[in-house]
């Protein structure tokens, strides 16, 4: 299908973008990589009257190491993250997750800011950002605020962003010598949205899992932290008993809804399988 008509503007600064949002209100839509928005326009799921293309705004792209965190600009493409040596070194969870996002032609265009704003519960970046305890930087005419990723994803396609806020960057704490991470997901075909996925992150202290974060995608309205499983494993070694206890705890942690091809019970089973594999990966 073809998109309904709309106007188009390409502001050269955040200030110009805010002015456009002010003028057009809810009828304006921000455009980044377009890999979700243009598909929605084509299917006429969205019919904005104007698109505000963010890609000419300076200062909201690029990947930089800034002290204890990595700052990734909102316009950074999935593929750039996948191939970045800085990311591989300082935020390996993101390098592990990137190849699971869609297909190369889409990763060449889609941006991390767009993915976070979209907040698809089966998307990779939201779960990774929660697991890494990243901060999402959002700008508005009033200034800038840093929103913890753990508080950013509210529900299906819904975030803590105020109506006219623009994501400018995401700040990811840099990995230390003991940081271990694993990203796993199950799909029918490479690049599809996850049936179930898991972003796992820990500090390995003499073989024990500490500050463990287990965040699932594809099992709820937003990324889901498996609080019970994390508690069972915190400070412990990944022994068969500890793993089994954590897998059992997932029953309380997750209440996945069935999708077209997988029952809720199947999804829960797959979540347990992924937990076993992720723990094995974290400690080896």
């Amino acid at each position: 299908m073809k998109a309904a008509p709309f106007a188009y503007a390409k502001p050269g600064s955040l200030r110009e973008a805010f002015a456009l949002l002010e003028r057009h209100g809810d009828r304006a839509k921000l455009l980044a990589g377009g890999q979700s928005l243009i598909a929605a326009l084509n299917m006429r799921l969205a019919t904005p009257s104007i698109l505000v293309d963010l890609t000419a705004i300076p200062g909201i792209d690029g990947i930089q190491l800034r002290g204890d965190h990595l700052a990734i600009g909102a316009l950074v493409r999935h593929r750039e993250i996948e191939r970045s040596e800085l990311v591989a070194k300082h935020a390996p969870l993101l390098s592990q997750a990137a190849p699971h996002i869609a297909h190369v032609a889409i990763r060449n265009a889609g941006t991390i800011g767009g993915s976070l704003a979209m907040a698809d519960p089966a998307a990779e970046w939201p779960a990774c950002c929660v697991a890494l305890e990243a901060h999402i930087v959002a700008a508005s005419p009033k200034g800038e605020r840093r929103i913890p990723a753990t508080k950013f994803f509210k529900s299906l396609f819904t975030t803590a962003l105020a109506p006219r806020e623009i994501i400018t960057a995401v700040e990811v704490p840099v990995a230390g010598a003991n940081t271990r991470s694993a990203f796993l997901e199950l799909v029918r075909r490479r690049g599809d949205y996850a049936i179930v996925g898991l972003a796992a992150h820990t500090q390995l202290e003499r073989g024990a899992l500490t500050r463990l974060r287990l965040v699932y995608l594809g099992v709820g309205d937003a990324p889901v932290s498996a609080a019970g499983a994390m508690e069972k494993l915190e400070g412990k070694r990944a022994t068969p008993e500890a793993i089994a206890a954590a897998q059992a705890a997932l029953e309380q942690d997750l209440s996945p809804a069935a999708d077209l091809t997988h029952s809720a019970a199947t999804k829960l089973h797959l979540a347990r399988v992924l937990l076993g594999r992720a723990l094995a990966a974290l400690v080896t």
Binding site: M1, A3, G34, Q35, I38, A39, H103, V104
Partner: protein, 162 residues
């Protein structure tokens, strides 16, 4: 809202300037305005890969990009990359192995495969499958396509050895 924008796009090495409506997709611009019908459209929401074109050296979905977004960009299509000979080895191998039947998916397959050959010259069969996952074919069953790409990669690797 019949606003038009003037877009200058370098298509297969030649700059063209046209007035475009914001809602016009790049793929429709190439096909309908420039008569470059080698790139196809099918799903029009990013799933099939038939519309794959190259923007500033990287493959993209032509149906998920507006013509206005391509202003100032360099766009290559299967026509241009055939004329330049860049796709020659892949085309030869697709032909040898019957890696196409109706041919609808082929331009997208070739552009995607060419990016793989260029960026991952050591790709394994499994990596070829992953890389090609975004291109659907309703005819061949994929084996011959993967075989053809693998052959090109293996041949290049042999050629590169001293």
């Amino acid at each position: 809202m019949d606003e038009f924008f003037e877009a200058t796009i370098t298509v297969n090495g030649k700059a063209v300037t046209r007035r475009v409506q914001p809602r016009q997709h790049l793929i429709d611009f190439l096909r309908d305005e420039l008569g470059l019908t080698g790139s196809h459209t099918a799903c029009e929401h990013g799933v099939c890969g038939a519309c794959t074109v190259r923007i500033d050296g990287q493959i993209r979905r032509g149906c998920l990009m507006l013509a206005v977004q391509a202003h100032g960009c360099s766009v290559d299509t299967v026509e241009g990359l055939t004329d330049s000979g860049e796709l020659g080895a892949l085309q030869q191998e697709f032909h040898e192995r019957n890696a196409l039947q109706c041919g609808f998916c082929t331009p997208g397959m070739l552009l995607t495969a060419q990016e793989l050959v260029a960026t991952q010259p050591d790709a394994t069969r499994e990596e070829i499958r992953d890389f090609m996952s975004g291109n659907l074919c309703r005819c061949t069953g994929y084996q011959s396509i993967i075989d053809a790409i693998e052959e090109v990669i293996v041949t290049r690797r042999k050629g590169a050895q001293p």
